[in-house]
Symmetry: C2
């Protein structure tokens, strides 16, 4: 048996290319030591934030090293275990390398229950994606029933959950996405009140104002850039803006330019808060409980784009920046 | 006797002009009703935020009406009183019209004590200016000893107090201002650790990085625009940015463009919070007590630019946008 690994070959300039990644093959591991376990990768999560880690710009998260394996959220099957916590046949989730097989210690891995939800859900609505949506919206957005929420990247993994939680909490929810098909899905499948296709809308500023006649109280921003700029003209006093991502500028090689937002913040006593879910670890138990309940009650639904095959991980990642995914992008091995 | 009044004649386009203001004269008031008092204006505060109220753009503070008196912070002498709270000869502060004399009810006026501090101080360090500096820095900045604070508009009324409070609280304090004379004053008079003259500095980004070798934890932003953009490259994880003003763009007739700040906020889990002191009224008693103590102990000092004469109010206001003031700009009547 052979084990395959995906390494970061080059730091991407602009949009990542297939040639930025390298596949290597080695003999599979036969023996493990006490305390370890051998894992076989089942599902791999590809996410926009990984683009940041491929750069070596100053950041408090260390960048991926060149010629070393990339890692992300993974669900794997335990195929051999020499520890007490997990047994052969268990499934676990955690941050793991892009490898078909790997040895792991037990720290930072969670057991996942395939009988309660499909395994891929533990990379999405019951994983970092769901936690990001829940913690960002509730902890920074502090939603009050009757308020208006705008979500960008609304058809994406996080955005579609944010919008649904917004509806559960009694908000008017407006989604922004890039195709009419996605807009239809936001309304018919996820219950959004309104949707705006930024690719077919000439004047985003007017479109936002029309969709949010009472102004915008919360903006869950997954994209940054010009789409986000249009929101500032409609924000209400004490608006809360959750800066969860800036996918629209991650591939920029030049400094992103846009609207100077300061006057809008001053005028409206508005908040912008950069958000990363790992700052809210103490909220995870509450969030998981709530998300599981809503999912079991049928109040939450989700969409996945599942791509087949380990070889297709780099392409699936690159496709994120073309908006080719609906909901969570996952590669099944 | 005649009473003079300054009306808003035109909504300024770009920088305000003298012709945007109109002086009128009428006979002085002779009699007042029960509960009222007659005030003679002593000191008038001119402040950058008034520029916003001269526009009719959507805002939660209603704009000044055309052909009506402008108002701002004023210290006035009670020259006739028909209420129990104030007596002839008292001095009061509050939001009052730009008139040499006016009738006022007692609500929203505070008695000020000329024996404890000069009257003009009640428009500055013991007025909205001091409260703005104290509440913004402590409530949003949440300073921790040893952190680094950058202040823009540092030689201005608010900025110079922010920097001094920062030093009292054990921060490294860097001020940004527009002349070498102001930079000298920041360091020699107000105790700033470092100063940057944005008019003589080619690369603000590098200058900030050098002045803040440990990065920037708190940025008290009075100016917005390109000067503020340079700070984002040096912000630390969990940085707090207090958006107190954006004087650099108040006179823009086109939409302000600049750096897209979202990626910096996401990467650093950083906060930007639009700030207006009136949101923190419940903190005013604590703030006034602390500011008075520090002033009495000689830990705080302040600079005023006092212009003489009611006729010069519009010019003093316009001069704010040329940076002609050092510290609080006040007109003495």
């Amino acid at each position: 048996m052979k084990t395959q690994t995906i390494l970061l070959k080059n730091r991407p300039e602009g949009k990542p290319k297939l040639s930025d990644f390298e596949f290597t093959t080695e003999d599979s591991i036969e023996t493990i030591s006490s305390g370890e376990m051998l894992l076989e990768t089942a599902y791999v999560s590809v996410d926009p934030y990984l683009r940041g880690r491929m750069s070596d710009a100053k950041s408090y998260v260390p960048p991926f090293e060149l010629n070393k394996p990339i890692h992300s959220g993974v669900v794997a099957k335990v195929i051999d275990s020499k520890n007490d916590k997990f047994s052969e046949g268990d499934y676990v989730s955690g941050m793991l390398d892009w490898k078909t097989q790997q040895i792991s210690k037990v720290e930072d891995l969670l057991k996942v229950d395939a009988s309660k939800a499909p395994l891929s859900a533990y990379l999405g609505i019951l994983g970092m994606t769901g936690l990001t949506a829940y913690c960002g919206l509730t902890q920074i957005g502090k939603p009050q029933a009757g308020e208006t929420l705008v979500v960008s990247g609304a058809a994406g993994a996080v955005g579609s959950i944010v919008g649904q939680i917004g509806k559960i909490l009694g908000l008017r929810v407006i989604g922004i996405a890039g195709t009419d098909e996605k807009i239809d899905m936001l309304k018919s499948k996820f219950g959004f009140d309104a949707g705006i296709n930024y690719n077919t809308t000439d004047n985003m500023k007017t479109a936002i104002a029309e969709a949010a006649p009472d102004g915008v109280d919360i903006y869950f921003d997954n994209v940054g850039g010009p789409i986000s700029d249009a929101i500032f003209f409609s924000i209400n006093k004490f608006a809360r803006i959750i800066n969860c991502g800036a996918i629209s500028v991650y591939n920029n090689t030049e400094l992103p330019k846009g609207l100077s937002v300061q006057p809008f913040l001053v005028k409206n006593s508005a908040l912008m808060q950069g958000f990363i879910v790992s700052n809210y670890v103490e909220k995870f138990p509450e969030a998981m409980k709530q998300l599981s309940e809503w999912l079991a009650e049928g109040k939450l639904t989700y969409t996945e784009t599942i791509v087949d095959g380990f070889d297709n991980i780099p392409k699936a990642f690159i496709d994120l920046f073309e908006g080719k995914n609906k909901g969570k992008m996952i590669v099944k091995i």
